[in-house]
Symmetry: C2
Subunit: 229 residues, 2 copies
């Protein structure tokens, strides 16, 4: 299986966690979305018509969108299952994952922050406030869902004793928010899951700094470089 990823893309990070949890090896292809490689004509035509990362090509079947890829992997390699089959747990895991994937991540990704900066000419302070606003609002909802989950399923993961799609989404979202300088101390249930994941080999393997295309962060003084991928 070919895997197309950018080290700092949190959607790529989700799939990296899923691949590592399932113990699947891939042929890695770094796609630098900072330099626009996801818009290359060959990539769009042959790998991902959506012109995004991540993507896979599995025996000639190319597929984009992180959550569709994880659903695909769950179908072909069901151990460990990341999207549960039991209806109530499945609904809760999907609800939580979509909160991150639809309500939190999209409004703070690279292209949005670039547009705010380059087209609307927001100040660095306005950009930071934008980012922090949606993280604050979104993470408050995450904490409410985690509180509800704990009552039924306990920990140490989002939903009980096994990691699921929810954890594949939460850990990268937390990582990017932290990188952008957001104060994550109020989000205590999230932090407990993040701390637990930090000791799990699959989650460690999926971290941005462990990726073949990783490049170290530029000097802290440069605001532009903080823009999240």
């Amino acid at each position: 299986m070919d895997f197309y990823s950018f080290f700092n893309s949190s959607t790529s990070w989700r799939v990296r966690i899923a691949l590592a949890l399932k113990g699947l090896d891939t042929d890695f292809h770094g796609v630098n979305i900072r330099t626009g490689q996801h818009h290359d004509a060959d990539y769009v035509r042959e790998v991902n018509p959506s012109a995004t990362v991540p993507a896979i090509v599995d025996n000639g079947f190319h597929l984009g969108q992180s959550l569709a890829i994880i659903d695909w992997l769950d179908g072909k390699h069901p151990e460990p299952r990341l999207i549960p089959k039991e209806p109530a747990l499945r609904a809760r895991v999907l609800e939580f994952s979509y909160l991150i994937a639809c309500d939190i991540h999209p409004v703070n990704n690279l292209r949005i922050l670039k547009y705010l900066q380059d087209e609307i000419k927001v100040s660095p302070k306005q950009k930071d406030e934008w980012y922090a606003h949606w993280i604050g609002e979104g993470m408050a909802a995450v904490e409410r869902l985690l509180a509800q989950a704990a009552e039924t399923y306990g920990g140490p993961w989002c939903f009980g004793t096994q990691p699921t799609l929810a954890d594949c989404c939460l850990i990268p979202q937390f990582g990017n928010a932290q990188r952008m300088g957001c104060d994550m101390t109020p989000h205590q249930r999230t932090r407990a899951v993040v701390e637990h994941a930090a000791g799990h080999p699959a989650f460690v393997k999926a971290e941005p700094k462990k990726q073949p295309d990783y490049t170290p962060p530029p000097p802290a003084s440069s605001n532009k470089d903080k823009i999240k991928a």
Copy 2:
């Protein structure tokens, strides 16, 4: 089943289509997100901790997030199935639906446009350009995926002869973009699906103007009123 919806919310609209396709009746509750009813303490505590629309309460089980709700409905009421089981078609339908639900819809919804207007103080022209930019970029990707789908599955729906989750997502996204004044004429494959759906009773039943909480649009001169829910 209780159903919480706002007539102009395209995520609510997705679920309305799914309910209508499956022939399910609900107890309807309008939640006016323009006046902030989705933040009411009772609603957040008892119906949807995410403080969003849509939501359902099904025999005491409350659930938010449109795509999680449709997955839940598909599990309990599988006819007609909206998220196919056959792996390749399933992957394509999910990939397409996530393109809309994760990459297009979130950056143009009500709260984002309000923040741009109220906090960043963008001009009406800048707000319209923001909206049109993401619709243009997103719909170009939609058209590429529809072209690819047509080769394998044909029409008249996004993926063959039966509506799926993809159509539940596409029709509301098109409707909102059109309401916001976007030029949708270049998106020909999308328009063909939209025209087909306009003749289907379930899609007609789900339209914003058919909802109990529908209110007619304000005068066209008022820019604020164009903000998409």
